[in-house]
């Protein structure tokens, strides 16, 4: 992540290597700064989202994710730094090519679902007739066909959220920005939303979404950035993030454990009837030979790759997480 100037605990190689044109980036930002009062809520964030990618902005609560997205979309102006959206210097110039689902969902309660979707499309340049037609088809596809002519105030929170999401893609945007899209949805609707994000990517759209739920990011993101305390701490793929942590082994001896700790790496801890420890740099073979020779045997052995959650905790730091909490 050569473009990020701020000190950070982990970086990977620049993912834009080999891409020459700024037009091939759906979103770029350099040194974005936003101050509320005397506090830097966003403090020099850089982002580069390749076209056609699903890109996650991860971070604990209060990390500055929403503020970053709002600056990228031109809802608020940055106090410092620069950004481009679909190659345009000002986000407003390409607003018809962008879809947005804000963190705080908002629809007019007196509008019918189909009208609400068409209205959101009309704001982005889609004519009302096409908007209504597409809205009905999308609602049918999402299993909400029965709610098409119901007013928003009659819908459940999850259904209304889905309606708003459909409204953000009805005009078939090139870039879809979703701020905490999974919050407030039950597992079934979360699954639907994941399907919709994949469908949008397959259509060729770029998806930029923020979340603090690692599971979604792990399943969906081609690339991600992790923000904490207003600063970008990591940028790369999910695999890059996970590679920041060493492999761990879980070993279960066959015979009693007395005196076994002396033969294990120093960080070994008892867990689930066995021992968990970081894989030594030279490999596990030497340790296993010692254990077998000492008569402990091997009842179970598994090599574990750390998840994005572990990487996130390591990158963000427990302190930042506790501060956010």
């Amino acid at each position: 992540m050569a473009c990020l100037g701020a000190p950070r605990p982990a970086t990977t190689s620049p993912h834009w290597k080999g891409i020459a044109l700024s037009q091939e980036w759906a979103v770029t930002a350099k040194g974005l700064v936003k101050r509320f009062g005397d506090r830097n809520v966003v403090d020099g964030v850089d982002i580069a989202v390749p076209r056609g990618a699903v890109y996650g902005v991860l971070g604990p609560n209060g990390a500055g994710k929403t503020t970053t997205l709002r600056m990228l979309l031109g809802i608020i102006e940055p106090d410092g730094g620069e950004r481009t959206l679909l190659g345009a210097g000002h986000p407003r110039d390409v607003s018809d090519r962008v879809g947005y689902l804000p963190e705080e969902r908002g629809l007019y309660p007196a509008m019918k679902a189909v009208e609400a979707i068409a209205f959101l499309g009309a704001l982005r340049g889609l004519d009302w007739g096409t908007g209504r037609k597409r809205a009905r088809a999308m609602l049918e596809e999402a299993g909400l066909g029965h709610a098409a002519d119901q007013k928003i105030r009659k819908l459940s929170k999850g259904m209304a959220q889905l309606v708003q999401l459909l409204g953000s893609v009805v005009h078939q945007p090139e870039l879809l920005v979703l701020d905490e899209p999974f919050s407030g949805l039950d597992p079934v609707n979360q699954e639907k939303l994941e399907g919709l994000i994949r469908a949008e990517r397959d259509r060729g759209a770029t998806i930029l979404f923020s979340t603090h739920v690692m599971a979604h990011a792990e399943r969906l993101c081609d690339r991600l950035t992790i923000i904490a305390g207003g600063k970008a701490r990591f940028e790369g793929t999910v695999a890059d993030a996970r590679a920041l942590l060493p492999l761990r082994a879980h070993y279960v001896p066959r015979s009693p454990h007395d005196g076994i700790q002396a033969l294990l790496p120093p960080d070994a801890e008892r867990e689930n009837g066995g021992w968990r420890f970081t894989m030594p740099d030279e490999g596990i073979e030497t340790t296993l030979v010692k254990l077998i020779d000492a008569g402990y045997g091997i009842s179970g052995l598994s090599i574990e790759r750390p998840g994005l959650h572990d990487a996130f905790v390591k990158i963000v730091g427990r302190e930042a997480l506790e501060t956010a909490a």
């Binding site: 044109l21 620069e82 000002h90 908002g106």
Partner: protein
Amino acid sequence: MSRFRHMIRQTLTVARRDFIATVFTPTFLIFLLAPIIMMSFGMIGGLGAASVAGNSIDKERIIAVVPADEGRALLAADARLRPVFRRGDAPPRLFIEPPAADPAAQARALFDRKDIEASAVLRGPLASPTILYGNREESRADYLARLAEESLRDARVPTTLSVATKQPVHRVVATASGHGQAAFFTVFGIFFLTLLLAGQAVGTMAEERSNKVIEVLAAAVPLESVFLGKLIGMFGVAILFVGFWATIVTNVGALLPAGMARGLADIGPAVGMPAFPLLFFAYFTMSYMLQGAVFLSVGAQASTPREIQLLSLPITIFQVAMFGWAQAAAANPDSWIARGAEIFPFSSPLAMGARAANKPELWPHLLAIGWQLLWVAITIWIGAWLFRRGVLQSGGPKLFRGRSGKVPEAAANIPH
């Protein structure tokens, strides 16, 4: 699509939503028919007042304590003079009472009776009568004195001395006072409609803020378009309201007596027809837009319904102040007060409406409408800027710094 057309389209999308959301609700019917409720209350109050006043009028009378023959002469004179008065201005009915032993005491006692309300009482010979009258009833006493004199004149010269032929004349050109009245009605009409309708703009952003829709709007549409769209949407509602009532009033006007219609013909605007109604509509539009933009901007800053309620008073005071200033301008069309009211953007539509009634030149109106349009744009721009900074907590762009559509060099070069 050019940026301007793009903005217009987005503005109209917001306007359409607001218009439909307001008009296609049961509440709108209450709003539309509110004048009927208002008139009903007025009628009920008026009937009550008329009933009270009627009772009082029935009892009120002027009395002559005179012998029967003098009484007949007085009644004859009264029958001749009374048609001169318009309805409502006529003195109370005349009653004759025969004199008792002490006419002075009798006359005084009439004021103390409960079954009647004597406003003036005449006694004594008609050549030198004594007339008693109550508080502020001197005109009644004068009328009795006039009746006494007429009775004596009739006794001496029993024939009619002069028979007049009356011919009504209809003015083709409105008088100066007709212009003045037209100016007054113009200012009052624009003020009244704006007062009734523009104040609604104050709470229109509250819906977006409470529903969190503002975030979606702000991401898709420039705030200036949101503000202008909401203003146009509400103006559409106002036009519907005005159109509905104008149609009714026009049809009721056709039923007015011919005499009243002729009376109204004297009230003529200096610019003539059809320029005057067009200018009236243009200035009502400008007045609505200007004051509506101020109310919308101020109301957009309010975060609770209570704050919006608190803002209603200063808003009404502001409107009344503009009305007062424009009225002064209408009364003194050549004064510096009038020039000031015509130039100050928020009183300009009212004052220029008055000018259309007072002065025939049309070109100042083109200038004024352009000037007012400019201020509509400025007010919306400032309102959107304040909203962006205060509510969305956005930093730049600065108020007087334009934005460039150029790709920032540093950001564009990130990948290279």
